[in-house]
Subunit: 614 residues, 2 copies
Amino acid sequence: MPKIKFTPQNKEIDVEAGANLLKAADQAGLYIEGDCGGRGTCGKCRVKITDGGKIEPTTAEKKHISSNDLESGWVLACQRSVDQDIVIEVPIQKDAHLRKTTLAGGVEDLTAEPMVEKAAVKLSRPSVKDQTADLERLLDHLEKPELTIELRELSHLPALLRNNSFAVTAAMAGSRIISIEPGDTSDQIYGVAFDIGTTTIMGSLLDLKTASVQAVAATTNPQNAYGADVISRITHASESKENLKQLQDKVIEAANNIIKDLLKQTRVARDRVYEVTAVGNTTMSHLFMGVDPTYLAPAPFVPAYSRVLEVEASELGLKVNPAAMITFLPNIAGYVGSDTVGVILAADMDQRKDNCAAIDIGTNGELVLAANGRLMACSTAAGPAFEGAQIKHGMRAAAGAIESVDYTDGEIKLSTIDDVPACGICGSGLIDAAAALLDAGLVEPSGRFINPVENPEKVPNHFKDRLRSGIGGYEFVLVAAKDSDTGDDIVLSQGDLRELQLAKGAIYAGLMILLKEAGLNEEDLDQILLAGAFGNYVRKESALTIGLLPQLPAEKIIAIGNAAGDGSRMALASKTIRERARALPHRVEHLELSTRTDFQDIFIDAMAFKDSRG
Amino acid sequence: MPKIKFTPQNKEIDVEAGANLLKAADQAGLYIEGDCGGRGTCGKCRVKITDGGKIEPTTAEKKHISSNDLESGWVLACQRSVDQDIVIEVPIQKDAHLRKTTLAGGVEDLTAEPMVEKAAVKLSRPSVKDQTADLERLLDHLEKPELTIELRELSHLPALLRNNSFAVTAAMAGSRIISIEPGDTSDQIYGVAFDIGTTTIMGSLLDLKTASVQAVAATTNPQNAYGADVISRITHASESKENLKQLQDKVIEAANNIIKDLLKQTRVARDRVYEVTAVGNTTMSHLFMGVDPTYLAPAPFVPAYSRVLEVEASELGLKVNPAAMITFLPNIAGYVGSDTVGVILAADMDQRKDNCAAIDIGTNGELVLAANGRLMACSTAAGPAFEGAQIKHGMRAAAGAIESVDYTDGEIKLSTIDDVPACGICGSGLIDAAAALLDAGLVEPSGRFINPVENPEKVPNHFKDRLRSGIGGYEFVLVAAKDSDTGDDIVLSQGDLRELQLAKGAIYAGLMILLKEAGLNEEDLDQILLAGAFGNYVRKESALTIGLLPQLPAEKIIAIGNAAGDGSRMALASKTIRERARALPHRVEHLELSTRTDFQDIFIDAMAFKDSRG
């Protein structure tokens, strides 16, 4: 069996002859970036063969790797099968950068209403005159004879009582005793709230006695190895039960890593975490629960379930108290998941009286409109452009990503996350860049670069070298090779602009359809809420410049941060809020846009870069 | 590592040097009889070393094995550690013989009231106009939106619906959907009722649509390898969590073998078994559930729980439908278990109006009295004498056991189970033999053999050779070596009579205490019910002769068969009866005899063989 050595991580594995290198890396526990699920189209899974036979580059490699780099041994991992011992250099990944993850958010003003209650008791000792069984003795003392108990806890109850002078604490969730602990632990009630994103998984540890966040942690969703988008993952999962299990195992493992991190930060014991909530899009929910997501992909996009799922931690293998209830908030529809439910909770949309729209742009774009007591939602195939996928030099919001671009005084100015040399462009940078190039007159409202040959007068001298002919049209050099981190020019291509147009057109059109169904016009909106990390960083002016948002005063557009995750925290902190979540699948009207011709009409019209600034 | 070969079973295993031979046999899957849990006191784990070094006999071996047999290589497996390769001959065990296990019993007149209900449905197909999720589509159709579903079933629901044209059957237990099956399976609802005896485990498969028994099966309780009595097993379990797990694994494995047998007999699919009930003494209940039984052994004999335990099959590893609910009927006290609850149900003791006592003699003796609307119960340390343990040539009721002994026309006549040459004596034979020897004047009411030297005139000539001096007193030869299956004389010893006196005295005294508490005399009893296999085979006349039972007309003494098992079947067949069982721990008054001086007084008095015949 061929051996693969990965450097600088210094991991070795043996693989079957013919094994795929990308999968082998995954097997070795190495995460190699990639967006296309191994199809060879994104060109991001670059690794370097430093020892082992040379082989002819594939078409995909020729497309994505310069001939110099090919000569040096760079390949696309997804394109390579391994037939002999090789040594591979894997570039160190820049982890998804959590630009502003704080302890705050979502739970500041909440009254703590944990589902779990604790009672510390001191029981009388049994005697020949009082032979009451241990469990009944405990329940009598709690004055709750109707409670049931986990067999796991009952099994060691006799010794626990006698080793602790019959002084113990019972943790109760609803009608169940989920834990019996030595002594008085009644001040220790913890929970973890997850936001299971397609790209990033975040977790918060809450003290449920005070509804306060004690620690946060995040990690890349390791399902990325099976494709950056949900469709790739649904496809993979639909191929076999083993594949579905594999994807579930990946996300559970990541969640466990986050839990471990949270427990380490706070020195809370694993068994003291009694409740877990999670939000995520409908596909993430299915994969987390190990439920077949196959029929989410083709029309009519039907989920296996909408309701809240409640499952014991032990059934999922989550490493908290084994009897902890894992509550995944409900889905609204195949492409409107519990992440949107989280946004609705965080923004109080099920309770507020004004007309308010929320836009959550993640790998997909979900929109919610609260108007006249109604709640409506839809999803748009915005594509992952705002997360850097499908964009030539696109990347997630990590160190070195161009995050803002400004056209001022005839000059284009950029800044990167962490102020380090640029290695790509993230979503907010993309919108800024398009807006800046529109302002500079280099891009037409139709989305085409102006033709510098036909219109040389429109291109200022200092831009002449930067607006150049590229593959599939013109491209603009944002950062020259000499100044970049990658040693290559970083450009915005005509293709990139087209991706942006598709994405922003879909979101705009989705919002228009919601307003139409509610009988409203855009000026009737009291607020537009921008949810998600993206919402925090996009500049409203740029969003208005490119027509991503309707024409509204900038003060009515409000970034509300990671509202999905905040909703998860709120549902964890308060059972009242959890009940609000439970009711939402019945309450939210879902609009399916894919078959509506009125949506198509607005969408096509909305792709143009029309300036919405007042 | 030394190798052990077991013949004629032809099994080989490697063991650590110094491994105990009895444990090694258990590990190899061979059941070697034994009552003392490997302490060397019962002398029953005889095996023959046919190849491998000779070694000095231990004290225990010298006590239990003749010098001829020691010479031939016979040893006690529990006394031997294995340090070199050896070949062992293991005598073929005669399995506990189920003398009269029939399909009848306990459920003939019941109305079927299964907990599980089924509904066959045909759902409308989803469309873009109706994107309702699969689960909600099913629940809407069932008109039961409040039901929860097992994740196991939800996970494959999408494919199940689409592969079966949306025609499926839902199996529901209370508020849970436990199974979703292709097509219409609504006529298939099965359950298994267990009787977990210390010695024998029995199971019955019921068709729950008709409350009819379809098949029965039984096996020896493999926990026997850790001692015949509950105290040995409690001791073993209390030593470590691993030991407890080991005992649980043994009984679950045996239960699974029974289930396999039942399914094979009836060709019912495993997944169509949705409910399981079980009864057993309190220790068996704890060990089945894997709950620490340590504090059952010492006073005040406190169980971990009394109530009904309900656990999913998957949690216990029982191989029926994984979501099937396993219901272990409740315990009354540490030594009055759900087997007694089964007796109460089977004999309708919680509902009848007359004064009625039930005696269940198994490894222990439990007694119940229903009188004036009260229900009282106690247990007596009758010891396992009636099951053949502690009796010199005692054995369980299997082929070759002397089961009846008669003194007629000055002669003692015997019969054995299956009419084969005798190899020992079982409980009913023991009582008969004592009664016959009392009738023959060879045993005094005090329980002593008459002294044939002092009273030669009392010994008829044809008995002179048979009443002879043995270890610890006289003994009577029931079967001479030339007629026995073992090639040895089969005798009833003075020690055997003493064991019988202790056992019968305890039971009689227990019954008297119950009557005293109820303010009744023995003549107030309308019926005495004899439960258990023992009750079926003991001859009332003999029981009255030796004073096991109080002086009542024989027609008031009624054998009711395996009432504990019948109670398990009844609780399985009818949820109403299960609710009756649930109420019993609160209703039955338990009397603890061990500390009562009035019990001791009656007990000592009751040990004499006073004739109760009218």
